[in-house]
Amino acid sequence: MIRLIVRRLLLGVVTIGCIYALTFVMVISLPGNPFQQGLHNIPPEAEMALRARYNMDNNWLYFTEFLAGAVRLDFGPTFTYNDWTCNQIIASALPVSLLIGLLAILIAVMVGVPIGVLSAVKRGSWFDVTSLTFVLLGISLPTFVTGSAMLIVCSVCLRIAPVGGWGTLAHLPLPALALSLPFVAYIARLTRTGMLDALGSDFVRTALAKGASRRTVVWRHALKVAFLPVLSFLGPASAQAMTGSFVVEKVFGVPGIGQHFVNAALNRDAGLIMSTVLVFSTLLVAFNLVVDVLYAWIDPRISEAV
C-alpha cells in the first residue's frame, strides 16, 4: 500500500510538472497582450518596462522564476487585478469553492447512489422511469438553466433562500445543489449500470442461495462492487466541483475561483492562468491519489498488482 502511495505521488509530481510546462507554452504563444486593456494603448517603452518588471521579456527566466515561486507557494502578481497578488485571489476565492464543491459532491453521492441502487433493483418500475427522466434532465439541461430555475422558484416565488451573494450559511445550499445536479445524474447512472451487472453475477446468486437477506445482498455485497466505477469517477469530479463553476458563480453571485479560470484566460493574464491551472491539477492529482488508495482498500487485488 505504501509503495502504491509513493509511486502515485511521484507520478503525480511529474504530471503536474508536465501540465505546468504545457500551460506555459500555451500561455506565451497566445496572441494578445495582458498589459493592454480596453481601448488604451500603452507606449512601447512602458510595455517593455512592464515586461521586464514581470520577467516576461525572457521566457526562460519567467518559466524558472514562476516555477521557483510556485514551489514556495508564491504565485506572484496578476497583470489585470492591479492591487492583488495571485495568492490573495486564490486565498479569498478557493475556500468558497471548496466549501460549495464539497457539499455538492456529498449531495451527489448521498442522492445519486441510492437512486441508482433503487432503480436497478426495481428495474422497469415507475421509480426507475422517474429517476431515468431526472437523470436525463440532469445531464441535458445546462447548469445556467437549472440554476436560474432554482433561483426563481426558491428565492423569488417561495422566498426560502436569499437571491444571491455570499456570507451566511443561507447562501450555501442553492449553489451547491445547482452544482451537484449533473454529478447526481452521472453517479445515479453509473451506480445503476454497476448494480445491474452485480445483481446478475454469480456471487450475488450464491449469497442469496446461502440465505442472506435481500437487503444485505443489495446494499452490502452488490453495492460494494457497483460502487467502484463511481469511485473512479469521483476523483476528477471532486477536483472539478471544488474548483468551482463559472456558471454557478455567475448565476448565484458567489465569489468562487471558477470565474478566475475564465477571466484569466479572457484577459491573457499569464500569472493567474498558470496559478489556477496549478491549483486545479494539484487538486486533481490529490483526489486521484485518494481514490486510488480507497480503491486498493475496497479491492485489495489492486495494490498487489502494482
Binding site: 500555451m26 441535458s140 445546462p142 445556467f144 436560474s148 466505477p229
Partner: protein
C-alpha cells in the same frame, strides 16, 4: 425493501421488441429497442422541419418588429406584419416610416392572397412568441437547432479525426512511443476543460478569421467547433488505442498474418472495419457534449455571436430575460425544450449504438 422483487438481468430481457427486430446485424440490433427508434424519429422530425422552414427562417431570424411584437407571448394568430412575408418582387403600397426603417402605414394585407406555404409560415411565426427585439422565436429556434447540430457534428468529426489517428498510431507503433503518447493524453486530461477551450479559441481566432477573409459569421462557428473538438478527442484516443491493441492480438489477425498478409492489408481489411463501431458510438456521444459545451460558451458570451442563433445562445438569452423580470417564460421554455429533447435523443442513440456494436459492454448505459 423486504419483499422487493428484482429480475436478474440478462441479455434477452433488455429492451422491448420493435417492428424492426432483425437482430443478426448491428444496425438491426440498434433499431431493436423502441427508445432508440423514437429518438431517431424525433431527430429526423426536427431536422426535416428546420430544413423545410429554412427559406423562411433565413429571411426571418433577424427581422425585428420593435413596435408590435416586443416580447409578445406565443399566440395562435400571427402578430407580425404581413409585408415581411410577401415575396420581395411583389411591391405593397408603403410609405417610408419616420426613420425610413419600415412602412408607416400598414398595407391592408390579406392573408388569403398568399400561397398556402407562405400563409402557414406566417401563422407559425407567432407560435413560440417573440424576443426582446420582436424577432420570431420560432424562426430562431429552428435554424438554431441546425447551427447547434452542425457544431456538434463537426466537433465530433474533429475529435474523431484527431483521437482515432492518435490512438491508432500509438497502438500500432507500440513500445516507448505508445507509452509517451498516452502520457501526453494523461497530461492534457489534467488541464481544466473550460480553460482549454477558451485558450484554444483565442489562439485560433486570428488565423481562422484571416482564412475566412472577413466572413466572421462562419469563421466564428468554425473556431467554436475546432476548439471544442480539439479538447474532446482524449477519450476517443484511449478507446481506439484499446480497440486496436485488442484487435491485434485476436486469432483472426494472427491467422491473416500467418497466411502472409502485409500490415497494410491487415489494417485495411481487419482492423479498420472493426473500428467503425466504436468510432461511430463515441462520435455520437461527443455530439451532445459539444452542444452543451457550446451553450456554456454562449453563456460566457464567447460562443456563437449575435444575431446567429444556436440553441445554447437562445437558452442563455432566455435565462437573462427571465432573470430580469419573471414572466417571459417562452424565451427559455422553447429553446430549452428543443435542446433537452435533442440531447436526450442523441444520448439514447449513442447508447443504442454501443449496445448494438458491443452487446457485452454495458458501461454507463442509460437504459
Amino acid at each position: 425493501m423486504g419483499n422487493a422483487e428484482w429480475r436478474i438481468p440478462n441479455s434477452e430481457s433488455g429492451g422491448r421488441r420493435s417492428l424492426f427486430a432483425v437482430r443478426s446485424t448491428p444496425w438491426g440490433r440498434f433499431l431493436h429497442t423502441r427508445i432508440t427508434l423514437v429518438s431517431v424519429l424525433l431527430l429526423v422530425v426536427f431536422l426535416v422541419t428546420s430544413v423545410i422552414t429554412l427559406p423562411f427562417s433565413l429571411r426571418w431570424y433577424n427581422v425585428q418588429e420593435l413596435d408590435t411584437a416586443v416580447r409578445h407571448p406565443p399566440a395562435v394568430s400571427p402578430v407580425v406584419h404581413l409585408e415581411h412575408f410577401v415575396p420581395r418582387d411583389v411591391s405593397l403600397p408603403a410609405s417610408a416610416g419616420p426613420h425610413g426603417l419600415k412602412p408607416a402605414a400598414r398595407p391592408s394585407g390579406n392573408e388569403n392572397t398568399l400561397k398556402p406555404a407562405t400563409r402557414i409560415a406566417h401563422r407559425a411565426s407567432s407560435w413560440f412568441g417573440h424576443d426582446d427585439l420582436g424577432r420570431c422565436l420560432f424562426y430562431r429556434v429552428l435554424p438554431g437547432f441546425l447551427v447547434s447540430l452542425a457544431i456538434g457534428l463537426m466537433a465530433a468529426t474533429v475529435a474523431v479525426v484527431i483521437g482515432a489517428t492518435f490512438g491508432a498510431v500509438a497502438a500500432l507503433i507500440g513500445g516507448r512511443i505508445d507509452l509517451l503518447m498516452m502520457r501526453i493524453v494523461d497530461v492534457i486530461y489534467g488541464l481544466p476543460y473550460i480553460l482549454m477551450v477558451i485558450l484554444l479559441k483565442i489562439a485560433l481566432t486570428r488565423p481562422l478569421t484571416a482564412l475566412f477573409a472577413g466572413h466572421t459569421k462562419y469563421a466564428d462557428i468554425v473556431i467554436l467547433f475546432v476548439a471544442i473538438g480539439g479538447v474532446s478527442w482524449l477519450t476517443m484516443a484511449r478507446v481506439i488505442r484499446g480497440q486496436v491493441l485488442s484487435l491485434r492480438s485476436q486469432p483472426f489477425v494472427e491467422a491473416a498474418r500467418a497466411a502472409g498478409a502485409g500490415p497494410f492489408y491487415i489494417l485495411r481489411r481487419h482492423v479498420l472495419p472493426n473500428l467503425i463501431g466504436p468510432i461511430v458510438t463515441y462520435a455520437t456521444l461527443v455530439i451532445p457534449l459539444a452542444i452543451l459545451q457550446e451553450s456554456f460558451l454562449s453563456f460566457l458570451g464567447i460562443g456563437v455571436q449575435q444575431p446567429t442563433p444556436s440553441l445554447g445562445r437562445l437558452a442563455a438569452d432566455g435565462v437573462e430575460a427571465v432573470n430580469t423580470f419573471v414572466g417571459y417564460w417562452w424565451l427559455i421554455t422553447f429553446p430549452c425544450a428543443i435542446l433537452v429533447l435533442t440531447l436526450i435523443a442523441l444520448n439514447f442513440i449513442g447508447d443504442g449504438l454501443r449496445d448494438a456494436f458491443d452487446p457485452k459492454s454495458s458501461a454507463a448505459t442509460l437504459v
